[in-house]
């Protein structure tokens, strides 16, 4: 892997950030440096403690009875035989859980989206393969599965709703009768004058694209362990493999009928999540509920079939995309229609609009198109629910737009890179037609760098030569904008009008060590490293004295968790706001101890010194001890508040950007696509740690390869689910990911603390469109139009076969 980095002109950089960010330049001792991940020695030597490592005394094990049908009425459930198994302790059905409040989807204050209510175990109707209908508790997970196999459910199969377009038809059977419709949300939004732009266009390009159904499939599946204690009016301890401890607590406590104070959520080490674990699932409710009913702690560890059949699915979207353009290639309008095949339940809290709506609302991306319109539909179907997974609806949105732009280039006989550059916005702060305000970015520069990374002119020559030899090479580009750092402002700009609230608490302990608690959560991102880097710089202490605490609602301050590429921005901001206060107190304490002026104190690496007076120093350890126990000589606020401060941070909108470029070869005999080169340019503002950024970019690109070529959650025509193991749900392994070419550009955010932007989803957003465009470029001699992902060998070969038949068929002879 090669990594090359370019910083934008530093003078321009500091000017840009100081214009809007008031704070002083920081002494960047750690931020920006390739600091090794401090969590790795623990995780890589097997000392991680994951959900399955949680063991409580007297714990029972749960296995869920799940629907084998896409849509069926539950006529009756007979657990007699299961209960007869030695070691099976209890079986509960949906009816037994009628004391729970319903789980209700759709965030608060969400207009235009129907709220759907469900019971965590289906009571009357099961709505997809894998929908849970009962739970068996037993002394071991083996016995629980033995019991599960013996629970006799009498089913009355109902007609499944499987086609999202048929689901929109007024005569369609309903997935959820209570809603009176399958379409939980139809929204339209338009800016500028789209109709006129299309009417006046010299050229209109129209495409359809079906983005396939994929999911996160983290190495560690989900899991919940819960206990109920009869003290203080009853309280739950819920251990969960989640990305968002506080938010999970907030959303499950009311369903369980307790206050948030009566429920603690503890997330141990989480072995991958990728957005999947920021959904609230039925098991998050059922496991604590049956712990209470059985009087015993209960553990449930999801297996891979459950993960694939009944977690969340993602990105299954039917897109149609139109571009209006003038004869010279200026794109004047975009119009998109996005139909998310939403599955049986509206996922909590983000709903399937996390796919459909975000495909539409960011449609203009890095292009200066001023007339933009989209509409979305979200039909429920008898499949697994659609929820947030890395890249969310940005991925299908990017596919639709970038594939259409390549199509436009072909129709106009223009070069796809030139056409994009011609239509791109400038690097400065920019407000899109739908009102998002970008905080500056290297849109054109990133595309140019990606073009150079694949040696574009030389590639075109090589491509021509290869074609003469009957080999099909292609190149594709995919510049992107990634909304990051989700807080109140950016979520609102993306169509999600919910508030966000995040805090961090910074404490200097009496011996000078530093404890930070945050409501963010790390499940691979390396927060123990990056947030410690930030803290150390902000306080002027050594990084190894900083400990980052998160993952337990009992010990961490409130925050919304980690997803949507938000934690670099939120973590930096909230820690800085707190650390500045603590540092100020440390400086005043040091000044008192050194009998110097506050303004003359420098705090570096845990030692306070007086500027210009060599040797006049005091170590942090002594300052801290003085701060805690130094009596009346201390400043009054220190006497009262000590060396701890908690602050919130709610950033403005931050947008990362970049570009992926793919070079592929297509074997037209077999339809196999091999990726010769995948280059990515990433601009996530100020880089906290290049090792971690590289890891995020590489992982997301691999994910993008999966979306483009491999990953598919398939249902048969009768609704049977056929991708329930990793033999059939294929994601890329090391042999499918080529050596990546990674470049970076740093355009500091004009709005965020420290100039940082998020980076978690970039490659997943950009790579699929680059690869699809490359394959279409390779197959352009056949005039092949690709209309879906994943591009399986069968799909590609089928297109080639049809093209060959058309070329040699009777029409020509």
């Amino acid at each position: 892997m090669t990594l090359e980095s370019t910083a934008t002109d530093p003078a321009a950089t500091s000017a840009a950030s100081s214009a809007t960010t008031p704070q002083q330049p920081r002494p960047a001792r750690y931020v920006g440096r390739p600091v090794q991940r401090v969590e790795d020695p623990r995780l890589l030597s097997g000392q991680g403690r994951y959900i399955d490592d949680v063991a409580l005394p007297g714990m029972l094990h749960a296995a869920f009875v799940r629907s084998p049908h896409a849509h069926a009425r539950i006529v009756g459930i007979d657990a007699t035989e299961a209960l007869a198994v030695e070691g099976v302790v209890a079986v509960y059905t949906g009816k037994d859980l009628d004391w729970l409040a319903p789980m209700v989807s759709a965030g608060p204050m969400r207009e235009g989206v129907l709220a759907q209510s469900r019971s965590p175990l289906a009571v009357e109707v099961a709505r997809h393969v894998g929908d849970p209908v009962a739970v068996v508790l037993a002394r071991s997970p083996y016995l629980a599965e033995d019991g599960r196999d013996l629970v006799d459910v009498e089913w009355e199969p109902l007609t499944p709703v499987l086609d999202p377009f048929a689901a929109l038809h007024p005569d369609s059977p309903l997935v959820d009768e209570a809603l009176g419709t399958n379409n939980i949300s139809h929204l339209e939004q338009s800016a500028g004058d789209v109709d006129t732009a299309f009417a006046e266009a010299d050229h209109v390009t129209r495409i359809r694209f079906h983005s396939g159904r994929s999911t996160a499939a983290p190495i560690e599946c989900r899991g919940v362990v819960a206990e109920y204690e009869d003290r203080a009016g009853g309280r739950f301890n819920v251990y969960s493999s989640t990305q968002m401890p506080h938010l999970l607590r907030m959303l499950i406590a009311p369903v369980l009928g307790v206050s948030q104070g009566q429920l603690s959520v503890k997330a141990p080490d989480v072995g991958g999540a990728f957005g999947l674990k920021c959904t609230v699932f039925p098991e998050d409710i059922v496991v604590p509920a049956v712990a209470r009913m059985s009087g015993r702690p209960v553990k449930w560890i999801e297996d891979r079939w459950e993960d694939l059949a009944a977690g969340v699915h993602s990105k299954d979207m039917h897109c149609s995309m139109e571009i209006a353009a003038t004869a010279d290639g200026t794109m004047t309008a975009f119009r998109g229609h996005f139909v998310t095949d939403s599955g049986a339940y509206s996922s909590i809290p983000f709903t399937p609009l996390v796919d459909s709506q975000v495909a539409g609302v960011y449609l203009s991306s890095c292009y200066g198109v001023q007339n933009v319109a989209y509409s979305i539909d979200n039909p429920l179907t008898n499949k697994c629910q659609i929820g947030a997974v890395r890249g969310v609806g940005w991925v299908p949105g990017q596919l639709a737009r970038e594939v259409a732009i390549d199509q436009l280039a072909r129709s106009l006989g223009k070069d796809p890179v030139e056409l994009r550059l011609q239509n791109m916005i400038g690097p400065e702060v920019y407000t899109t037609p739908f009102g998002q305000t970008y905080d500056g970015g290297s849109y054109a520069a990133a595309l140019e760098k990606a073009r150079d990374a694949v040696d574009y002119p030389a590639f075109r020559q090589r491509q021509a030569q290869a074609r003469a030899d009957g080999r099909y090479l292609g190149v594709g580009f995919s510049p992107f904008v990634e909304p990051t750092g989700w807080g109140t402002a950016s979520a609102a700009a993306g169509g999600l009008p919910n508030g966000f609230f995040d805090t961090a608490s910074v404490t200097v302990e009496p011996d000078g060590s530093v404890t930070v608690t945050t409501g963010l959560h790390s499940h691979g991102q390396g927060h123990e490293t990056t947030l410690a880097q930030v803290t150390a710089d902000e306080l002027g202490v050594a990084m190894d004295s900083v400990r980052i605490v998160f993952g337990d609602t009992d010990s961490s301050v409130f925050g919304m968790g980690t997803y949507a590429s938000r934690s670099a921005v939120l973590g930096f901001g909230s820690i800085q706001e707190s650390a500045v206060q603590v540092r100020d107190r440390l400086v005043r304490l040091a000044a008192a101890m050194l009998e110097a002026d506050d303004a003359d104190i420098e705090l570096v690496d845990g030692v306070a010194a007086v500027k210009g007076v060599p040797g006049k120093t005091v170590p942090l350890q002594q300052i801290a001890l003085f701060g805690y126990f130094g009596g009346p000589a201390r400043p009054e606020d220190v006497q009262r508040d000590g060396l701890t401060a908690t602050s919130g941070y709610n950033p403005g909108e931050t947008y990362a950007n970049g570009c992926a470029a793919a070079v592929v070869e297509v074997d037209v005999r077999t339809g196999l696509v091999s990726i010769e080169q995948l280059a990515a340019v990433e601009d996530c503002g100020v880089v906290l740690n290049p090792i971690i950024v590289k890891g995020q970019v590489a992982g997301a690109l691999a994910n993008g390869i999966g979306v483009a070529l491999l990953e598919d959650l398939a249902y048969e025509d009768n609704g049977e689910f056929v991708s329930g193991s990793l033999m059939h749900y294929l994601y890329p392994s090391t042999t499918e990911v080529p050596d990546l070419t990674l470049h970076s550009i740093e355009t500091p955010s004009a709005v965020s603390v420290g100039g940082v932007k998020g980076v978690g989803e970039a490659g997943t957003i950009s790579a699929p469109a680059a690869i699809v465009n490359a394959v279409m470029d390779a197959l352009s001699p056949f005039g092949i139009v690709i209309e879906k992902t994943p591009m399986t060998p069968e799909y590609i070969r089928g297109l080639v076969r049809a093209a060959e038949a058309a070329a040699t068929g009777p029409a020509r002879s």
Partner: protein, 289 residues
């Protein structure tokens, strides 16, 4: 993902193993466990007992005097690393690289891959191409079965319930040309279509004997007899003959058509792999001679 209850027996000899199989109705031989254990975890297989032959040293040997004799429980990785095999039976080595991954090959056995009878597995087809013979031993004694007669259908072979595959014998392929190819979506996956070919040629490169074996295309590994007939008397490396053989490869075969891959695709893919394996065989021969 947890198996139902079963008994576990670890016999000290092949004879004991056969007795244990007879004593436990619905029992199964456990070798490397790389196919059987996942099937049990998914509760697709529910044997009442496992008879673990994995530690029987008498079954783990590899001998290469004239013909190659591989004990059933020799690990796939051990065979892959065997220098004699690599030199004299390169088709086996070439195929083993595609059987799963280093981790699965470290446990998975040579015999297990054959006895399992998975139609998309590499080794069974390679055994057909190599004209291998299998030594079976059971309650009613010992017998030898040719690879051509061994595979019956999906996960079924001629092995009786109380019978063990003991040893695989592969004749010396001296002088023959060979090729191998498979279509997989990821390295190490089971093939959507694959071919193992071995050709005996005379002094001026005319094909005298052709064995073209296919995997992943039908309910069991098969010989593409029509393709073989096409090749007889043609010159090794003749592009036209290779293409014809590819096209003929699946004629008369009932081709698998499932949720994931259609028969049409398998036809195209098989044609391509057969043709390429034949050309590769010629190229390699030119390279070495």
């Amino acid at each position: 993902m947890k198996p139902p209850t079963f008994d576990y027996v670890r016999p000290a000899s092949v004879a004991e193993a056969i007795d244990a199989l007879a004593a436990h109705p619905d029992s199964k031989v456990l070798a490397g466990g790389q196919s059987l254990i996942p099937m049990m975890n998914m509760r697709l297989a529910r044997p009442t007992a496992l008879v673990d032959i994995g530690r029987l040293d008498e079954l783990a040997g590899i001998e290469a005097n004239g013909s190659l004799r591989v004990g059933a429980t020799a690990r796939q990785s051990t065979v892959l690393e065997n220098e004699q095999v690599g030199r004299r039976w390169p088709l086996i080595t070439a195929a083993l690289v595609h059987v799963g991954h280093p981790a699965t090959r470290a446990r998975g056995t040579f015999g297990g891959s054959i006895a399992h009878g998975e139609p998309a597995s590499e080794l069974p087809a390679v055994m057909l191409a190599c004209d291998a013979r299998f030594l079976l031993r059971g309650g009613s004694g010992e017998r030898e079965v040719a690879a051509d007669d061994f595979f019956v259908g999906h996960y079924t072979t001629v092995l009786a319930d109380d019978e063990l595959l003991v040893q695989v014998e592969v004749p010396d392929p001296a002088g023959s040309a060979w090729g191998f190819g498979e279509i997989v979506r990821r390295h190490g996956d089971y093939a959507l279509a694959g071919a193992a070919v071995r050709l005996a040629v005379d002094g001026d490169g005319t094909v005298e004997e052709a064995r073209v074996a296919l995997f992943g295309v039908s309910g069991r590994p098969i010989r593409a007899t029509a393709a073989e007939e096409h090749l007889l008397g043609t010159r090794l490396g003749d592009e036209r003959a290779a293409a014809e053989a590819g096209r003929a490869a699946l004629s008369g075969t009932e081709v698998t058509d499932d949720s994931f891959v259609s028969a049409t695709y398998r036809h195209d893919a098989a044609a391509a792999v057969v043709e390429r394996a034949l050309l590769e065989a010629a190229l390699r021969r030119r390279g070495t001679n």
